[in-house]
Symmetry: C2
Subunit: 265 residues, 2 copies
DNA sequence: AGGTGGGTTCCGCTCAGTGGGAGGATCGGG
DNA sequence: CCCGATCCTCCCACTGAGCGGAACCCACCT
């Protein structure tokens, strides 16, 4: 991985991806200048390349802003990001939503963050910051705590060593969080109370799979209040999680692995 | 845009996208040779570029196959492909599903095809070929007929001039289809009976928006049989479509359909 | 007017990209 | 066991695609 993209030695491909990767959830539309800056490319280069990408469908131009193009959307949907899991889980997520009318989350761990694989939300009764494809800290979300509790030691250590504060209720003391993680193991669920966003609480359970009960994902609900009906939510979650785990194909396949369809013309 | 990618004159960017665009719904995983062939690149070039893309996250290597990488998935989710519409529509789609337990579709027109923006399907009772991000012909699907009925003249003409047969029931006579499109306008809904896949019927209604009632999308249901309960399905669809239209923000952030000529794929 | 901050275009130098071809690995059939 | 087929990896000398500083344009300020 070369250093500065504007220095000779950087490949065109890396520059192309630098341009694309300049976009994120907070920057869905960028002016040429912003794009160049965020991509670390000279203005003229960014301009030429961006123009080329627009022609190829990788970017789109909206007035004086660039946005990610349709082709990328198309292609992204082909990426084997837990397709199997998401497919299998979808009906269970619906069931959960129907039963609770809460925001439903399906997530996996990606490094030291939660990666949201799917989300169902009714008309927002609670402010929810998650986004399909979005990442959030492990220690501030219900699904995150579940995943963290079942993560390898080194991940736990790394996360516990740096607990960023998000709200006044965010748990930032390693000791307290570690105790909570132990409880997750003991009780089979995790919860948060306004630790990610004010006014939002969550419960979550692991999705286990295979004979060894490997935790492959987490299933969570976000609600305005946990004081009433928590037991009911957990019960619903556990039923759904069990159903998902049971419905997953036996083969412990590579992460996200799926029918690797036949090749050739 | 140039022809053969392996001839000098093709830009690196175009080669990169040729590699990515070599993947489609039927080819989610490709061997190097297949990849090179489908991208129209010399093997050595494909090898080197693909390797580079793997390093950048644009591709992923699974054993001896390449698949679309996570980065592209991430980025694709940022593409402004009717985000607003999909977001607004989501709860209504759930409602529809809850009410009917049929497969629910939200689609827009992309050139001379239907582009599926969202889909809910319970445990498959009916074989459904659609896929989020997938495209199907306008004349063989319920949502397609709705969108076609409200498409500009030139699109209608182009589509009517070439009605491919998909099943024995596919309508291939321009006259009959034209008559049906008139009925769509008159009656406010479209239907298909095994015209796309055997054993599947569909109904669909337009989603209108704004003071002029512009058709911005179509909402459809797929069921095994329309003889019973069609009226009920249509009623549900119309309520949902009206709700979506009403909930959309005043200014449609992006144009409904793409120009007919554009062929980004 | 002059200034500022965006976007666009130009063009000659040069190094990144190219791809034919050699070589390796793996398989399976004779 | 050899041999051919198939697929992947690597090398390297040639060259034209890509680069980006600089000039320019334009809209909108003061």
């Amino acid at each position: 991985m070369a250093g500065n993209l504007s220095t000779p030695g950087a490949s065109v491909a890396s520059r192309v991806f630098a341009l694309l990767a300049a976009f994120d959830a907070e920057h869905r539309a960028l002016s040429l200048t912003a794009l160049a800056e965020r991509a670390g490319l000279p203005l003229a280069t960014a301009h030429r390349l961006a123009g080329e990408l627009v022609g190829l469908g990788g970017l789109e131009r909206r007035a004086d802003r660039y946005v990610v193009g349709r082709l990328v959307w198309d292609l992204g949907l082909l990426a084997p990001v837990q397709v199997e899991l998401r497919q299998v889980a979808a009906p269970f997520l619906h069931d959960l939503y129907a039963a609770t009318h809460a925001t439903v989350h399906l997530a996996e761990r990606a490094g030291a963050e939660v990666l949201y694989l799917d989300r169902l939300s009714g008309r927002a009764t609670v402010p929810v910051v998650s986004r399909v494809g979005g990442r959030l800290p492990l220690h501030t979300t219900g699904v995150g705590k579940v995943l963290l509790a079942h993560a390898p030691d080194d991940v736990q250590r790394a996360v516990l060593a740096d607990l960023a504060r998000v709200t006044p209720y965010t748990i930032t003391q390693p000791g307290r969080l570690r105790e909570q993680l132990r409880r997750v193991h003991r009780e089979g669920f995790a919860q948060t109370v306004e630790e990610m966003s004010p006014g939002a609480c969550s419960v979550a359970v692991p999705v286990r799979h295979g004979p060894d009960g490997q935790v492959v994902a987490a299933l969570g609900l976000v609600v305005p209040d946990l004081r009433r009906g928590r037991a009911r939510l957990i019960a619903a979650l556990q039923v759904a999680a069990a159903g998902i785990g049971r419905s997953l194909p036996a083969e412990p396949s590579s992460p996200g692995g799926l029918p690797l369809s036949e090749s050739s013309r």
